[in-house]
Amino acid sequence: MNHTDRSEGGPRPTAASPSTERRQTIVFDAVSVVREGRTVLDGLSLTLTERRIGIVGRNGSGKSTLLKSLIGLVAPTEGTIIVDGRDSITDARAIRAVTGFLFQNPDNQIVFPIVAEDLAFGLKNHGFDRAQTAARVDAALDRLDIRALGRRRIHELSGGEKQLVALAGVLALGPKTVLFDEPTSQLDLHNRNRFRAVLAAMPEQAVVVAHDLELLDDFDRVLVIDAGRIVADDRPSRALALYRERSA
């Protein structure tokens, strides 16, 4: 059974991948999540393979739960989620090694008070030695052009800088996929634009929950979720138009 309502035309085929592009196949098979008697996800079945996937919906519609369930932070009450052949619960650790998660509030994601130490935290957890960790921390900081922040204290950074540091911590692991939970909701216009540019340049697959609809304009596929069901699954122009219509 498929709750998706993929309209004629469907998501456009993904453009030819650059050699550095990395992605996974994510399969939801009749996934339901019930929490405290409330159905948060309701029998979702879908396959995600595109490089850029957006998820929109009202507050409380199940977007963040869907995202968290991908890496086993939320267990399905029914059904299974398979990420590149691995079960989201029994193989959560292996999935998390190649699937990063950027939370809405970077302050809750950053564990160490110094930027470089925080980037090293995830690497240490995944078994990298000191030399590998140092090299990866530097490379991740360079990649986002924030090397100057390496020795800075987190509490001295702006919101935009914290978001980039949190993203650098994710990218340092070299994920195939990055999951973003409303990544621009706490950013000003300048930092939103900066974040968009970073996202556009990322070769990794990205699944993005957003209220900032412009962020999803050039995505490959957008899901509209309402009351735990996918009510639209289409290219951005169609899916976002439907979402705007439903939200009017």
């Binding site: 932070l73 650790r93 090694a97 190649v98 957890n125 020795r151």
Partner: protein, 227 residues
């Protein structure tokens, strides 16, 4: 004091290994509690003060760092004067001041990562006996250092909001939203820590540098050329 942890610098204390500094601090702290000669304690306090100043942190910032713990020392001294006598108060104040100065010198020159790693290594024997989980204890220390200032900021924000509503100084109006915010934050922090792969895989190499990636991560999925 938390704000000053791991301040940048190149003093001799910065260059000392974290384990040596923490071991030295433990020895000094223990020794101080076997000494009750005011002159000796005063010398210790002076040496501790010198160590603190050698870190290169500006005296004004040191004064700010030590304001709260210093107040606690003064209160202890006052209580001793009132309840015991002035000589006992002098010994207590000198002892605590010396300890405070040495501890500040160590925390200023040791990063949170070094502190956590050292603590984790020190707790390995207890971990092996199954008495505790060393990585979790080290993470708890890190989280306390990282998030106590954030909770301070939450308190300030709630006080401001309640003052606008005419509830300034009302303890319940502060406590209830603070507890709710802390619980909500704690849930997301726990998720974030899980998402970042904690706890590290256990095994012989639990605390040693690992030459090879964790076997928990399929080798074909490990990143290669760039992060």
């Amino acid at each position: 004091m938390i704000g000053g942890i791991g301040a940048d610098g190149a003093s001799p204390l910065h260059r000392l290994p974290a384990g040596s500094k923490l071991a030295g601090l433990a020895v000094i702290a223990t020794a101080l509690f076997f000494v009750d000669v005011p002159a000796v304690l005063a010398i210790a306090a002076v040496i501790g003060g010198a160590a603190m100043l050698s870190t290169g942190r500006a005296p004004a910032r040191l004064a700010r760092d030590l304001a709260l713990p210093g107040l606690a020392v003064v209160l202890v001294g006052l209580a001793d004067v009132l309840l015991v006598d002035a000589a006992t108060a002098l010994v207590a104040v000198l002892r605590l001041a010396a300890l405070l100065f040495f501890a500040q010198a160590v925390t200023l020159t040791t990063s949170t990562g070094e502190l956590a790693d050292t603590l984790e290594r020190a707790l390995v024997p207890f971990d092996r006996l199954g008495l505790l989980d060393a990585p979790r204890v080290a993470l708890t220390l890190t989280l306390a250092i990282r998030f106590v200032p954030l909770i301070g900021a939450e308190i300030a924000a709630i006080r401001e909001a309640q003052a606008v509503r005419g509830l300034a100084g009302h303890p319940v109006a502060l406590a209830v939203p603070l507890i709710v915010r802390i619980l909500v934050r704690a849930e997301e922090i726990a998720d974030a820590i899980d998402a970042r792969g904690f706890p590290p895989p256990r095994g012989p190499g639990i605390l040693a540098d690992r030459a090879a990636p964790s076997p928990a991560v399929p080798s074909e999925d490990l990143p290669h050329d760039h992060p």
